[in-house]
Symmetry: C2
Subunit: 349 residues, 2 copies
């Protein structure tokens, strides 16, 4: 008997979409180095520039500069190093590593920005799905979790720079982009051949970039086709099922503007890591927060920044879904989780 | 009629080998984030660690730390920033960007190192193929062009750290590794989730890494099977054909220890870029030096460092081949090139 697995951890990384797979396999036959002047080099360059146009189009960034990176973590280092911008505690570690973490976060997750030109704010939070209002003139916006799940256009976003990543939208892991308003610049951190207009040297991840372009185009179409409205309905359906069986459930961000695919449920005292392991054994991939390195067990800094205490911040379960997830899968998950919850309640009593 | 193309620019980037292609396509079905603790995450982690073992084995670096990067350019930044090491003018821009370029280079391309612990030297040069003797205790060795083409084992190399890149050995572009002796460390330049033991954060390029592992294993086997000895014979055959038709040919590094696949021929006065374009029109992909960004036309800094004058250093043709290239293809190339050479001589006369 094959064990059935259900993947409900799309915010950690989304499954590769068919269009990205096909574009990557096609790119495997393009032998040239995009920096070479011969036919093979020009073909590789052409493929890369096509992907750049696809990403710009999908992100509403026509006319802006799209600098390909190895992902949003590198993009954050490129955009933020030596700038000492202000950020809030709900930002991803890849962002807060370079910032003054001193912006206030309300209980509902909303960040207050006082000096946009000297601040960075995420578009949406990976753990809670909470969406921020991006103030006009913001220095940098980490749009990694929002792009592809909600309508967003860089040219209307209000930020000077934004970070996006392929693997959150059905592209491959290890490729992303820093998008900049034209006329702005950043100091290259990886130097050498002068690729990406001198902002990011190194032979480009051609196959990954081709996958990113195709995934961006597909994500844009899925959004326009209303697939993420259906995702929101499914997420709400899941929350309703769980709410029915839980005493005083705490759904983080339920009242706020949220990504359509993210549920964050706090069950004080029942550790998130334990829930993740129990659900894993039952065949479901979920998470206790963002996918940190090697499964560190610690209180979520996102929830702590929102004012939750350590007990609550270690007792969160994140379920993040996408268009491929069915209601039937969510019903099976709800059943498995509620059964584990009941066992825990009994033991805790 | 399909136009036949012959790719003779393997040092710029090598065609993807079948084993890498298959490993990458298989990795496309692995959905998890290697940092996630659930089954899907562990499967992704397992795939990555398998690739790490393959790379370590192929590079003779068992027991050393293999830190995956987006390529040797990033690896160079990681290994070299803020260390101000000494290097020679024959190093790649990605290396010299971070160094004091003050080590002497002899006319035959050999670099003299006085203080190994404060220096970086390449294993082999991308333009000339010239192989350096790596002094014991060398701080950093850029092994990008040597790895996979000549026998080399990190554990016997004498260097504390080394850079390698997948796309030079038949893997995908945009993935590489910094290899370190155990106990050494580097300051992370890309921070956040703490991946790669904190040395290089960011969700890993899983598909690319899988391809790198498979390519490394295949490269190691090809080398053991003697395929690169055949490459050397073919390269020598090409040089002999060209030498027959050229007045006083200057084959750079012909007397030195050289990579088996690289030919660098200087024809003073006939610009390398012109040759590349003429050969491209005739169906052959060759190069005038390393694949710089967007085909800058300038004197080769490698040849200049070796003492060639500006005229010679702008008149080089690099042909770099691999196991797939046939003698028949080289015969066709020699014919096309000699014919263009004769036309140039006539015009120049």
């Amino acid at each position: 008997m094959t064990k059935t697995r259900t993947y409900l951890d799309w915010n950690a990384t989304a499954p590769l979409v068919q269009a990205a797979r096909e574009a990557m396999i096609a790119a495997m036959d393009v032998v040239g180095n995009p920096s070479s002047v011969h036919g093979e080099g020009r073909a590789a360059k052409g493929l890369m520039e096509r992907a750049r146009a696809q990403v710009a189009e999908a992100f509403g960034a026509q006319g802006a500069d799209v600098v390909f990176t190895s992902g949003s973590t590198e993009g954050a280092a490129l955009a933020l190093t030596d700038r000492n911008l202000h950020c809030a505690g709900v930002e991803h570690d890849a962002v807060s590593a370079w910032c003054e973490v001193d912006l206030p976060v309300a209980k509902d997750g909303v960040v207050t920005v006082t000096d946009p030109a000297q601040s960075t704010v995420q578009l949406a939070n990976s753990e809670t799905g909470i969406i921020q209002k991006i103030p006009e003139g913001l220095a940098v916006c980490d749009a990694t979790q929002g792009f592809g799940k909600i309508p967003v256009a860089f040219n209307w976003l209000g930020a000077d720079m934004a970070l996006i990543s392929a693997h959150k939208i059905g592209g491959p892991k290890g490729v992303g982009a820093l998008v900049l308003k034209q006329g702005l610049d950043v100091t290259a951190r990886i130097r050498g051949g002068g690729q990406e207009m001198g902002r990011r040297s190194g032979t480009e991840n051609l196959i990954g970039i081709a996958g990113f372009g195709a995934a961006a185009e597909a994500a844009s179409k899925a959004l326009a086709d209303g697939l993420w409205d259906e995702v929101a309905e499914k997420r709400d359906y899941l929350e309703a099922m769980l709410a029915d069986g839980v005493e005083d459930p705490i759904f983080v961000g339920q009242g706020a503007k949220r990504l359509p695919n993210t549920m964050n449920l706090i069950t004080p005292g029942w550790r998130g890591e334990t829930q993740v392991m129990q659900m894993d054994l039952a065949g479901f991939a979920v998470s206790a927060g963002s996918a940190c390195s090697s499964g560190k067990v610690k209180a979520s800094s996102v929830l702590t920044a929102m004012g939750f205490d350590a007990d609550a911040a270690t007792s969160a379960l994140r379920v993040s879904i996408g268009p491929d997830v069915t209601k039937e899968e969510l019903e099976r998950f709800a059943k498995a989780w509620l059964s584990a919850y009941a066992r825990w309640k009994k033991r805790a009593a």
